[in-house]
């Protein structure tokens, strides 16, 4: 490719903008980490103007949050529980449905797909959903966070479309060899849909881990609060906190300032996402593209 001066200048400008944007994305994260290691002395002496890694870092906030009370660990456990249950059961339900719907001559397929589209376009809304969850007895159980979201019309449509693209000859060959319906799913369909499955898996995990809204609606029992909701409560200064919530507040009477405690808590709540991110990164471009454009 021939490159003139204007080309180089243009590329330079583009690179500069992209790198600056990446730094803007990165710095707030680092800043949060900086604050979480800050001592109260340093925080007070600089009166809040810490924009670099503290000179004398302390891990006291982390020790206190994870060590002294079981509250955060319990919230962490609830988060893990809902994420694992929701992802595993959700994948089972959606993969089975997509497998059935990927049969081209399944009677009733058209009706079911139309109903799925309806659930995408039209939702009952928060209040009817709340009443349904209430009348199925899920309020104040971890299942209220899991069951209503198990079926995802989007995921089924994406999986179905992918499975329909798998050459029919492969399945027919397997049938000749005497592989059963379930066997075909495990030996042919699933291995071939690995990329899509990984993308869906990633988004389900992230969705469950990050969801605090359903906890705020369906869960009143503090023992079932997830980590995200717990973080939210700790930043909530407008809500009137009753006695039940008080022992969930952190940062009182500790060696570090309350903002350091809060930031340490925030960092703890995002670490799991950062840990799984690299494993799924190569798949999600593909997943998003399939989901957003073709559907």
């Amino acid at each position: 490719m021939i490159k003139g001066k204007s080309d180089k200048a243009y590329q330079g400008v583009c690179a500069a903008v992209a790198i600056i944007f990446a730094l803007i994305c990165l710095y707030p994260l680092l800043y949060t980490v900086f604050l979480s290691f800050c001592t109260e002395k340093e925080w007070l002496s600089s009166s809040g103007a810490i924009w670099y890694f503290p000179k004398r870092p302390t891990g006291a906030a982390y020790v206190k949050i994870l060590g002294s009370t079981g509250v955060v660990l319990r919230a962490l456990w609830v988060s893990v529980e809902r994420t694992v249950l929701g992802t595993v059961l959700g994948l089972i339900v959606n993969v089975l449905a997509a497998y059935a719907l990927s049969r081209k001559d399944l009677p009733g397929k058209g009706v079911f797909v139309k109903i799925m589209l309806l659930t995408i376009l039209f939702s009952g809304g928060l209040i009817p959903t709340y009443l349904t969850i209430q009348s199925t007895g899920l309020i104040d159980t971890v299942w209220a966070l899991v069951i209503p979201g198990l079926f995802s019309a989007w995921n089924v449509l994406i999986l179905k479309q992918f499975m329909e693209g798998i050459p029919r000859e492969l399945e027919e060959a397997a049938e000749v060899d005497g592989v059963s319906t379930v066997g075909k799913l495990f030996y042919i369909i699933l291995p071939m849909s690995k990329a899509v499955l990984s993308a869906i898996c990633m988004f389900t995990i992230v969705g469950h881990w990050n969801n605090w809204f359903d906890v705020s609606i369906y869960i009143k029992d503090p023992k079932l609060w997830t980590l995200q909701y717990y973080v939210k409560i700790n930043f909530d200064n407008t809500a009137g906190l009753d006695q039940g919530k008080l022992d969930f507040l952190i940062g009182q009477g500790s060696a570090v300032s309350s903002i350091t405690m809060k930031m340490a808590l925030t960092v703890i709540s995002v670490v799991p996402m950062l840990v799984i991110y690299p494993f799924f990164q190569k798949y999600f471009t593909q997943g998003v593209y399939i989901g957003a454009v073709k559907g």
């Binding site: 089975l96 497998y99 001559d105 809304g125 009817p128 990050n210 407008t238």
Partner: protein
């Protein structure tokens, strides 16, 4: 029973079963007409034998159920039906003639369906008449749905309460579950008379296991998607009182919807929703396009990969975490206040609320927003760029002649879909975290449903607001999707 006897019986049953099957496969009319006939018969039976209307008055907790014959008697008596009641003695319940006629027509439609189904089952119907059978059943469905809506929502159907005062029909009467079951039956009958044919019967038998696979999903859809939709519709026409429950609360017609369009607060909330949605739409479309083009044009593949990895990260954080990070910067003792050396109130402030929403949204989603455009850009044949460069096209010219046209379909699609999402696009999670229910600019449809509808127990009004939002939203998305399909050939489904 001994084992040998069982064996003998089953040996005897098998050929008979097979013969039965073969007969079925050769003439699906029996099955088709049979199911439709059973449905029609069941619906007729329900209409005749079970109560159709419940007449009630909340003030004295009086309720009388009325079946088909009661209605006929009332018709004969000029609309008045005499009821024996343990507390009040003999009561005259007034039923409007219009209501009786509507139900009589329903019964007639069902009778026609039944006759047609029986004819079909005995193979007396040709191919065209069979289509007429399914049409008749679907007509029954549409008719019943219309009657249902007319009777529970219309003011023009009158009735009298026990004091003899004239009120709207829906205040004193409520259609019972009988009628809803009839509606469902007509759907089943219509579907079967349309869908049952030799090939389908064979396939259903072949795919037995597939239906088992579909069962969990179907059950979840019915319970957590379709049932809430029905509730949403019914609740929005009711004045919900907790003590009475969903089905016991009185119908109030379109009162809730009227409130939405008359109440100035409600109109302001809808306006605010659209304002925030439009701003977010601009933020979510234009910056990612610019960023994607620059990322693509910067060359240096390895650096680009690294940058992509970084800019996607914020998308995977929850709004809680984004709020926490924003809090670190803008809290009263935070970095921003130290830099500007003042005491600026940024959080929970009407003036800075919307800018704060937009900036945090930009930070969280801008990088992720590039992903679609990058996918479109990398699909462009690189030789196009090279050829243009050889022909002497500068970078700016190539940008407008090659790069932008290649992502135009994606841009049109995302824009059009964002327009379709205007009523839901305000981002309630973010607003609920950054704002509070006392802030005016934090009042959008979704937050109103949580703060006023759910938390202050205005379920009827809340459901009406959701229904309005969802219904208009659905029409807008369908319309916009059709536009996108027509303009650039990209569609959602």
């Amino acid at each position: 029973m001994t084992d040998s006897k069982v064996l003998a019986l089953s040996a005897n049953a098998a050929p008979r079963k097979r013969a039965f099957r073969e007969k079925f496969d050769s003439s699906p009319n029996i099955l088709r007409g049979g199911i439709a006939a059973v449905c029609a018969f069941a619906a007729l039976l329900l209409l005749v034998a079970a109560p159709i209307f419940t007449f009630g008055d909340e003030s004295v907790s009086l309720s009388v159920s009325m079946g088909f014959f009661g209605l006929l008697k009332a018709l004969a008596g000029g609309g008045v039906y005499e009821v024996q009641h343990s507390e009040f003695g003999t009561l005259g319940v007034t039923v409007s003639v219009a209501a009786i006629v509507l139900v009589l027509i329903t019964a007639t439609v069902w009778l026609a369906c039944f006759v047609l189904s029986v004819l079909c089952a005995f193979g007396k119907l040709g191919e065209k008449d069979r289509i007429a059978l399914s049409a008749a059943n679907f007509t029954a469905f549409a008719w019943q749905a219309v009657v249902f809506v007319v009777l529970i929502a219309s003011k023009s159907v009158k009735a009298q309460n026990i004091y003899g005062e004239e009120t709207a029909f829906y205040r004193t009467f409520s259609l019972t579950a009988t009628y809803l079951v009839c509606v469902l039956l007509s759907l089943v009958a219509g579907g079967c008379s349309l869908g049952v044919n030799g090939r389908n019967v064979k396939n259903v038998r072949r795919y037995k296991l597939m239906y088992l696979f579909l069962l969990p999903a179907a059950a979840l859809v019915v319970v957590y998607n379709l049932y809430p939709m029905l509730l949403s519709f019914c609740l929005s026409l009711k004045d919900y009182v907790i003590a009475d429950g969903i089905w016991g609360s009185v119908w109030v017609g379109f009162k809730n919807f009227k409130t939405i369009f008359v109440d100035p607060d409600m109109l302001r909330i809808i306006g605010n929703t659209i304002l925030i949605s439009v701003l977010r739409m601009v933020i979510s479309i234009i910056p990612p396009i610019i960023l994607a083009v620059m990322l693509f044009d910067m060359g240096a593949r390895k650096v680009r990969k690294g940058i992509q990895t970084i800019i996607y990260i914020p998308h995977f954080f929850s709004w809680v975490v984004v709020y926490a990070i924003a809090y670190a910067f803008v809290n009263p003792d935070g970095l921003i206040n130290n830099v500007v050396n003042g005491n600026v109130q940024i959080l929970a402030n009407e003036g800075t609320f919307i800018p704060l929403l937009l900036i945090t949204d930009l930070w969280k989603e801008c990088g992720w927003g590039t992903i679609l455009y990058m996918a479109a850009l990398t699909n462009v044949d690189p030789s196009l760029h090279e050829a243009a460069a050889i022909d002497g096209a500068g970078p700016v010219k190539r940008l407008f002649k090659i790069t932008l046209p290649s992502i135009t379909p994606t841009i049109v699609f995302t824009t059009v879909m964002a327009v379709g999402n205007l009523l839901k696009g305000a981002g309630y999670e973010q607003i609920m975290l950054f704002g509070s229910d006392i802030m005016k600019s934090a009042q959008v449809i979704d937050t109103w449903v949580v703060w006023r509808g759910l938390q202050r127990l205005q379920y009827g009004l809340g459901a009406a607001v959701s229904f309005f939002q969802s219904f208009i939203g659905m029409l807008m998305v369908i319309g916009c999707n059709a536009l996108s399909k027509r303009w650039v050939g990209v569609s959602l489904y």
